[in-house]
Amino acid sequence: DLAFIPPFIRMSGPAVSASLVGDTEGVTVSLAVLQDEAGILPIPTCGVLNNETEDWSVTVIPGAKVLEVTVRWKRGLDWCSSNETDSFSESPCILQTLLVSASHNSSCSAHLLIQVEIYANSSLTHNASENVTVIPNQVYQPLGPCPCNLTAGACDVRCCCDQECSSNLTTLFRRSCFTGVFGGDVNPPFDQLCSAGTTTRGVPDWFPFLCVQSPLANTPFLGYFYHGAVSPKQDSSFEVYVDTDAKDFADFGYKQGDPIMTVKKAYFTIPQVSLAGQCMQNAPVAFLHNFDVKCVTNLELYQERDGIINAKIKNVALGGIVTPKVIYEEATDLDKFITNTETPLNNGSTPRIVNVEEHYIFKWNNNTISEINVKIFRAEINAHQKGIMTQRFVVKFLSYNSGNEEELSGNPGYQLGKPVRALNINRMNNVTTLHLWQSAGRGLCTSATFKPILFGENVLSGCLLEVGINENCTQLRENAVERLDSLIQATHVAMRGNSDYADLSDGWLEIIRVDAPDPGADPLASSVNGMCLDIPAHLSIRILISDAGAVEGITQQEILGVETRFSSVNWQYQCGLTCEHKADLLPISASVQFIKIPAQLPHPLTRFQINYTEYDCNRNEVCWPQLLYPWTQYYQGELHSQCVAKGLLLLLFLTLALFLSNPWTRICKAYS
């Protein structure tokens, strides 16, 4: 007359309880772990009974004619997660069968079978923020096809639409799926869908005739919550807050474009150019956004920015804080940074130190910053020095595993605007690209610096050579050739953007050089002062490029050949009535031209093809393909299908009119 209610329990949590009803006087409850074969429940017998095992405990709370029996897992659920090395396992962590027996005077009178099947708790083992599911752009994807899918790469319990749940896992919670907006599949079939007609009640009577045949993914909720990249301002009145709180994005790691935060919940700032070229001193730095800016400051107004060294950058990993490592260097050439350097008399005041260049290199790893290296170029100036100082700020984000390898100019083809890779096999100096002049100041060749030739950009630059009236022509020619040759020190040019510098067979093309004429060979016996003939004053570099194919739909371009050629001018000293001994200026220049060659040579057009434009709608307004313009793809005003439908309607009317008109009635008469 004793019985457990219920007699069989499927246990999935750490504790279950059942009620023992009947004559509960002097009843002892004991627990046994059954060693059974899989799939077969053993016949309950009173075997070796004990109240406690090492994993399980039984507590009995007496009530009125009822004993509340609770079986508890002693080790706690952490045990499940701790013995698993991988993050999440689909197989049950504990799979046992327990037998609880109630015995009255050492005779078994009631049994309770407990099937234990406990899974590792994914919400305990995972930090939910680690593997947040990437939500696709709601414009193109249905809104939340499975919004309860919170963890990427793992099954979310009770989320029946989670694709990561295997079928035998889903059977565990199939009956208790999340429903509604915040769980389950919130992509309900909409009213007008044909397939919904069979399941939804209360469908209108016209339903089988007028319904929408559409995949379920094409839902009216598509993009419902999307408000555009920058949401429009709705109300029409002034709203001004002079200051706002810095929004903190760093708690879950940085995404591209997030501002970098310091520990004090403030933005990490570096001066940047904004508005019409002015520098903003307190501009926040965006994650993965490189820049290289120059700021001009008046030295009188200059204030030292503090806190670069003390700034502690917030980070999720690595204990939450990254401290920049700062290296100081002395700036060498002060004139480059400070104009108007009229040093006042040194009246014993202490010199001040200014930062003229700051280079920040952020090493990033996934969505954290692993390291910050700062290199600061300092200059020591007089405390009362006046003038305008140019400061340079460079921020670069590098991947944490990127070393000092050479930057590619594209992979495999060249990218537009990347330097042309070059190599000198004779000298082991570091020639990595071709150059042109970047003239400065008066534009003299002596002060000109070099600028790399960028792929795809036609350039012309030049500088001025000072030539005296008594210049030796041979020397002048040699000088000009030497200046021009200094631009092209390389012997080979890389065909592709990723050609290996170490391997000459990896797509390296030799530069075809057309040498300047021999400087000594003078066509005229140049006895005349102030006049030189055939001075190589222009270097033209022609680079042939072509499309070499496509990688993932992006056209790859490669260099097919490079040729350098000199062209000569005659120089004559320009002077007025009196020729003073003043240096004349000889301009020398260099130009780069990129010539695109079609991958396949087009057939030359015949005269007929040139003149016959009947089918060429680009050259002929009344070309034949546009005869039925609204029904062709040239017409973009309405959808093509709509045009076809309206056209068919029109055709129907015409056919009807034709059918009711003369010839048919006449044939009709003819039959009579």
């Binding site: 920058v230 940047q272 008469k669």
Partner: protein
């Protein structure tokens, strides 16, 4: 007694032949030559399909009360002052921030429910040592068109003016004109550009770079520009007087080009086709009468006696 023709009516004469006879073939050919050449003539003489059309509309423009101001100072204090209605922008400015007095008023002159002009006045307080040499000002508007396609967009008026002499006031009186790079469609809702001109929530300096703002704006196919041929720079500022920007921006009626819809296009084509077809019908009617009367193709002529609705009887 002279006789006059008081009444006449044509006598119908029918010509009978088999369906596979020469006469039937001739009729088929004649029909083809009647109906197809007018289409070719109409098409090849240009302008058959109406590819572009235009209409007039006064847009519904509202000032969105978003302002971004940069005032360039000089010559002694080389700096600038800036202010905007975006809090993130103001935070960037530090001590360059100067809050002006802004008053705006939109006016509906002709009481047609659409605003016709905006009176905008901005007074930027200045110290007596500061002198304004140049001004850059961005105002944003919400711009709507309704008659054909419903166009909803957020647009801007960019005002830039500078003068070598320090000014006291800038007077601008211009039109906010629509600029189209492509025709609008003839129906539907066009909200492609219903996004802010300036990303006012961004904390980054890059988003307030005027070159960046203008470059992103010019990517649009439909924009508005402030068309002001004569900005007037008034000089002579009192020591403690503010610098004043006085702008009157009108919202004029625009001629908007659009791509005509299907029925509009077919209607204009039909008018042209039928007017040429009439000539062809007349000519081929004459030819057919000639051919059948003179028995160029063999047929059996039958004069139809008025037997009324023989056909109907047969059918019923």
């Amino acid at each position: 007694m002279a006789l006059y023709e008081l009444f006449s009516h044509p006598v119908e004469r029918s010509y009978r032949a088999g369906l596979c006879s020469k006469a039937a073939l001739f009729l088929l050919l004649a029909a083809a030559l009647t109906y197809i050449p007018p289409l070719l003539v109409a098409f090849r003489s240009h302008g058959f399909w109406l590819k572009r059309s235009s209409y007039e509309e006064q847009p519904t423009v509202r000032f969105q009360h978003q302002v971004l101001l940069v005032a360039l100072l000089g010559p002694e204090s080389d700096g600038f002052l800036a202010w905007s209605t975006f809090p993130a922008f103001n935070r960037l400015q530090g001590d360059r921030l100067r809050v002006p007095l802004v008053s705006t008023r939109e006016e509906d002159r002709n009481q047609d429910g659409k605003t016709d002009m905006l009176h905008f006045k901005l007074e930027l307080p200045l110290q007596s040592t500061e002198h304004v040499l140049g001004v850059q000002l961005i105002l944003t508007f919400s711009y709507r068109l309704h008659r054909m396609a419903t166009l909803v967009m957020q647009s801007m008026a960019f005002l830039q003016s500078s003068f070598p002499v320090p000014g006291s006031q800038l007077y601008v009186n211009g039109d906010l004109r629509l600029q189209q790079k492509q025709p609008l469609s003839c129906g539907g809702l066009d909200a492609r550009y219903n996004i802010s001109v300036i990303n006012g929530t961004s904390p980054f300096a890059y988003d307030y770079d005027l070159t960046h703002i203008v470059a992103a704006y010019q990517e649009r196919n439909v924009t508005t520009v402030l068309n002001d041929p004569n900005p007037i720079w008034l000089v002579g500022r009192a020591a403690d007087a503010p610098f004043v920007i006085n702008a009157i921006i009108r919202y004029p009626v625009e001629v908007i080009s659009y791509q005509p819809g299907f029925w509009e296009m077919v209607k204009f084509a039909w008018v042209q086709y039928v007017s040429i077809l009439l000539i062809f019908l007349w000519v081929f009617e004459r030819i057919k009468i000639f051919v059948f009367q003179n028995q160029v193709v063999t047929t059996i002529p039958v004069t139809v006696t008025p037997r009324g609705d023989l056909c109907k009887e047969h059918l019923s």
